[in-house]
């Protein structure tokens, strides 16, 4: 096991005695060299969880263990320097995550210089090597971000994260800003890097078909809590939690014949506000199978099949 969180919480105080429960008690394990897909609607806390995992957000409560070592709740500058060698992140928006005033050489090479183990003269060679690896050209080094398309920028972001040769990378919606034809390039690249370098990835996305395709295991979040996790095909084809079932039911398939025979039963309502939440199942308000205890008791994690767990009172 490479990373494990126990009851990880990240709350934001937003004034007037209000607390936003962005991540509210998540226990999850990520094995070495696997891709864990994390899905959920916007506002479910996926990105906050990813950032809290690698110290970009200080934790409110709970623990994170990386490689047997307990990570500090709040990273100091020294912690960032120490762990950024192993823990990296690829950001969602390839436009706002690259400094427009830095050249590609500076953007991609900055990490190496900060780590201080590479001579300035070698940085250029390393950057050239990684630009080629992500499918860009070494000649692109002296250019600025605005000279690249969205897909190319996303690959600059990937090169920036990978050049440090990390062990674990959080990919926060790395493909949602890209065109269909380019998404496949980025996904194939991540897959390749996982195989060649033995990387472990947390792949955050809301495109269920793509997550099923990319990841070995899949975890589903709803309003800051984990509702289900298991091998990708198990969760996708045999979802157990009422929320996962409705989520997968709502996902259209690029096949007209299937769609003609698909009767949609959309989930009623929308994700509730994550402010000042009490105990109980987070999905209770929208759940078609809601019982009285769902509103007062937080469900425990139940194992329903090998490696397949559900947080729902129906299974307790």
């Amino acid at each position: 096991m490479l990373i494990e969180t126990k009851d990880l919480k990240k709350h934001f105080h937003i004034g007037r005695n209000q607390t936003l429960h962005a991540v509210d008690g998540i226990s999850l394990q990520i094995e070495e060299n696997e891709i864990l897909g994390l899905v959920g609607e916007s506002g479910s806390g996926k990105s906050t969880f990813g950032k809290a995992l690698i110290g970009l957000h200080p934790r409110t409560a709970g623990t994170t263990t990386y490689n047997g070592e307990l990570l500090p709740a709040k990273f100091t500058a020294a912690d960032h320097l120490k762990y950024s060698k192993e823990l990296q992140m690829i950001f969602q928006d390839p436009y706002s995550s690259l400094n427009p005033r830095m050249t590609v050489l500076d953007i991609v090479g900055e990490g190496l210089l900060i780590q201080g183990q590479t001579k300035r003269s070698d940085v250029k060679d390393q950057v050239a090597l990684w630009l080629e690896k992500v499918g860009l050209n070494a000649d692109h080094m002296s250019r600025y971000p605005h000279e690249f398309s969205g897909g190319q920028r996303q690959r600059i972001g990937i090169a920036r994260a990978m050049i440090i040769q990390p062990r674990f990378v959080v990919c926060d919606e790395p493909i949602s800003a890209l065109d269909v034809s380019v998404q496949a390039q980025v996904v194939n690249l991540l897959e390749q890097l996982k195989q060649d370098l033995g990387l472990t990835l947390l792949f955050i996305a809301h495109d269920l078909s793509m997550v099923r395709y990319v990841s070995d295991r899949m975890a589903v979040m709803y309003l800051g809590s984990l509702v289900e996790s298991g091998p990708s095909d198990d969760v996708f084809f045999n979802p157990q939690h009422p929320y996962t079932q409705l989520l997968i039911e709502a996902n259209p398939e690029p096949d007209p014949e299937t769609e003609r025979n698909h009767k949609y039963v959309p989930i009623v309502g929308e994700i509730t506000s994550p402010i000042n939440l009490g105990p109980g199942c987070r999905f209770a308000d929208r759940c078609p199978k809601v019982m009285s205890q769902c509103r007062s008791v937080t469900p425990k994690t139940t194992v329903v099949a090998p490696n397949h767990t559900v947080n729902c009172h129906l299974f307790e």
């Binding site: 609607e41 269909v180 395709y213 996902n251 259209p252 690029p254 096949d255």
Partner: protein
Amino acid sequence: MSDKILEVDNLSVEFATYGGDVKAVRGVSFHVNRGETLAIVGESGCGKSVTVQAIMGIIPMPPGKITGGTAKLNGKNILGLPAKEANLFRGVEIGMIFQDPMTSLNPTMTIGDQISETLMVHRGMSYKDASAMAVQLLDKTKIAEAAKRAKQYPFEFSGGMLQRAMIAQSLACNPAVLMADEPTTALDVTIQAQILELMAELQRTENMSIILITHDLAVVARMADRVAVMYAGQIIESGSVDDIFYRSSHPYTLGLKEAMPSNKDNRDKKLSPILGSPPDLFHPPAGCGYYARCPYAMKVCEHNQPAEYLLAGDTAHQSRCWLQHEGAPANEHLYQAGADHAD
């Protein structure tokens, strides 16, 4: 159903920039029948949004310029009309909804007032009647507590609710055609399912035609009767939804399909990206726009524009590809009109 409500013929749009004229739309022709959904599919920059914006007359001119073509609504040309005349059909006979409801609605007006405004301008209703009607329209788009919601501002709505409000506004004058530009791209899949269901239901009850612009083939499969695939400012393939998905006859359509994961495939199957990037529309290529990226490109494709080949008359399945020429070699991956198809 061959009752053409909107017919676009040879539409061309250019934009003047410091770098020269961008030929964003290069001779696009299509039609929409009453009560059907036409999906226009393509990637960013292919000209799909510009096409419908040109028809609606909402392209800023200059820098935009409609350089040719006609768009006939019920037989009457509506392309390039002055604002005063355009307002007689815009929002009345053709409604439109946009990708980003947050920036498309006025943040300083209540939702109810924005809908009433449409009714007051186009139908000459009094403020009181229009406000009452606005609540009914919100109710029609299944917004709970419509009367209370009508008094709220856009920031008090979620993305899905705003999209419903925008649909309510576009329905104000019972339009014959609804143009939806990526209506669900900014929404979660559960909310997307709700909005698509709402659109399909309204289409049935109001007998409305929908032009759905999207890049998502799954949404196309769910909603469309007919599909037009755009690439580099041209429609490169069009036909019934089954033609496009099961009898793809253009390498680009095929490429799009193979770049997407299907839930039916095994997870070990590798996705095939389309390599390269679309051509520079400052200087559109003389030949096929897809030539540089096409795995089946031939010599003829580089300098000669392929004609639009009709593959099957009953569904008007058309393809703009040299491989559909009678002299072209057989291709096992593509549907070819001349070839013998067992199915």
